[in-house]
């Protein structure tokens, strides 16, 4: 359930934005979920709904949570090869996969470049959660 903690960060960012921009309601939040973090979408969406109920100063009743899964792209700094987390996931133990779920950078600990075996790669996309945009009304 660390989805809850991340969902809370989305809602609180929206609350902060609303206060700053003097929005009364939040209409839509476009959220990216990186493949690497393997967020449980149902739990995440449930948490978003529950948490917004407790943030009474801003109108969240009609908020659309537009959740998009962002494909992962990893790129080796040594040989230039690019790959996706899904391609190498099958080689991981359940514990390793779970650890990456909590902290995506743990991929540098448990995985390697499939071509040259280097741990020196880059997470180009699909790391974790991010907000693409927040839309609201005054």
């Amino acid at each position: 359930m660390h989805e809850w903690a991340l969902a809370e960060s989305i809602v609180d960012t929206a609350v902060d934005t609303a206060k700053r921009e003097r929005l009364r309601t939040i209409d839509e939040i476009i959220i990216l979920i990186g493949e690497l973090q393997q967020i449980e979408r149902d739990i995440f969406e449930f948490a978003l709904k529950e948490i917004t109920k407790t943030r009474k100063t801003i109108g969240f009743k009609k908020t659309i949570f537009n959740i998009k899964i962002e494909k992962s792209r990893l790129k080796c700094r040594v040989c230039g090869y690019t790959w996706s987390f899904n391609e190498i996931r099958k080689n991981l133990s359940e514990e390793e996969s779970e650890a990456i779920h909590f902290i995506p950078e743990i991929a540098f600990v448990h995985t390697r470049c499939p071509r040259c075996n280097s741990p020196d790669f880059e997470i180009i996309s699909g790391r974790g959660i991010a907000i693409k945009s927040i839309r609201g009304s005054r």
């Binding site: 359930m1 660390h2 809850w4 903690a5 991340l6 809370e8 960060s9 989305i10 609180d12 960012t13 902060d16 934005t17 990216l32 514990e95 390793e96 650890a99 909590f102 902290i103 995506p104 950078e105 743990i106 540098f108 600990v109 448990h110 741990p119 020196d120 997470i123 790391r127 974790g128 959660i129 991010a130 907000i131 693409k132 945009s133 927040i134």
Partner: protein, 244 residues
Amino acid sequence: MAYIEPRTSVIDKRLRNIKRIISVASGKGGVGKSLVASSLALSLSRKGYKTGLMDLDLYGPSSHIILGVKDVYPQEEKGIVPPEVHGIRFMSIVYYTDDKPSPFRGTDISNIIIELLAITQWGSLDFLIIDMPPGIGDETLDVIRFIKDSKFLVVTTPSKVALGAVNKLIWILKELKIPVIGVVENMARNQSFFIRNEIRKTGLHYLGAICFDENLEDAIGDTEKLMKTSFMRDLNNIVAKINL
């Protein structure tokens, strides 16, 4: 690609119920930061304070070795709840690395620190002690950036070499107006006022010395033995004199 970073919005909330946050730091490696941080956490918890310890040395985590932390894992409850070991709520990257090497670059380090701060549910604590890696790199800058209420406890050894690097950390902390509790001289071997005088020149408090402890190694990994070391005695004498 200007995405909004959501995680930083909850960090203050996660730390809200912690009364005091102390980052044990040094410009220099190997001076005893981890020993001071772990022993301080242990000592505070034995005195009845609710204490947490966070190992932020992501390349070379060592607090778990010093405290003999084994076979525990955080619980998931609206985030991750650090397990209580020897009375200390203990958080470390080792839960996730399986003690394998962690080849991270700077932005990865920052990302990990933000993630840890955003998802760790400490609950209410009297003290959170942070074991910092050496230097003034990403971890130090991130602690300054995200943990607004942290005070620094700086560790040096009697060596001019250590002091050279420690002075640079002190410089940065002073420049950024970060509260510093003071400087501890560790591994002192004979009476000398050199470090004390040098620290006083910087305007910081020289808190006292911890002597080199021949028997410390034997106590590593065993909290009962650690409590009885001369290292712990010296540290407690220092703590007794200051208002943490």
